[in-house]
């Protein structure tokens, strides 16, 4: 094994003692763990992993549907296993977190004015929640009909 540490750009080169030192503060890999806002940011970004997991499960479900009633019944049984329920509980929490943070971005993305006065933030975000409710209701109605 190579025990000698390779010289990095952080140490000044040998040919002159007046070479400027690079200012490169080392940031810990865990920089996001110790502040609520940073943690929230990383959790929000991680919600995308559960979005992808949902797509994978949906593709598997479509494949089961295509393979006939027995395959579909087997897949429904798998969805009842504790592991699948646990994954879906965590996914649901993350996806709702994504939805809320996404909807609440609307007031930052666009400044809506009514008669020259800026609308309060919750009035700009509110239509998102209305659409969310209506669309969720419509999907549930179509599936449960």
């Amino acid at each position: 094994m190579c025990a000698v540490k390779q010289p990095t750009t952080r140490t000044a080169p040998a040919y002159t003692e007046f070479h400027p030192r690079w200012y490169r503060p080392q940031v810990s890999v865990y920089w996001w763990l110790f502040q609520r806002q940073y943690l929230k940011f990383i959790l929000r970004e991680l919600s995308s992993v559960f979005v992808a997991a949902f797509v994978v499960i949906t593709l598997l479900q479509l494949n089961a549907l295509r393979n006939g009633p027995e395959a579909y019944a087997r897949f429904q049984q798998w969805l009842q296993t504790p592991a699948a329920i646990a994954l879906n509980v965590v996914s649901f929490c993350f996806v709702v977190f994504h939805a809320i943070t996404w909807f609440n971005l609307a007031p930052s993305a666009m400044a809506v004015r009514l008669r020259g006065k800026p609308l309060p933030d919750f009035m700009v975000a509110a239509p998102n929640y209305a659409v969310w409710l209506v669309v969720s209701g419509a999907v549930a109605w179509l599936v449960l009909r």
Partner: protein
């Protein structure tokens, strides 16, 4: 002349996928992942599901529901690895894996829905 960046294109996919994911995925996970398996609501029959999936508009809906959120994931996950874990030297590999995964998922969704019968 400056080289044009593709960032706007990928950001548009990310943003469209974010809207789809926020509005549609919670109700899907609630119904198919929790309410039906746990017996909170009566699960739809195989026949009813097939009748729905046979409708072209439902197939287009499911294609969009699968594809755009994958591009949303690709963008976010790429930058999570980039910023969170600081693996900047693997940028090209991560880019290829993330967007490659999204393309593979999109092709699979298209294949499944096209051949649903």
């Amino acid at each position: 002349m400056e080289r044009q960046s593709n960032e706007a294109f990928f950001w548009t996919l990310f943003s469209a996928g974010g809207v789809i994911a926020a509005i549609l995925i919670p109700v899907h996970i609630f119904l198919f992942g929790l309410a039906f398996p746990l017996g909170w609501l009566p699960a739809p029959s195989y026949e009813h599901m097939m009748a729905l999936v046979r409708l072209p508009v439902v197939r287009i809906y499911l294609f969009v529901l699968c594809s755009l959120p994958l591009f949303h994931w690709a963008h976010r996950f790429r930058y999570t690895l980039f910023d969170g874990l600081q693996v900047k030297h693997l940028n090209e590999v991560i880019f290829t894996l993330c967007y490659g995964g999204a393309v593979v998922g999109t092709v699979l969704a298209g294949y499944l829905l096209w051949n649903m019968g």
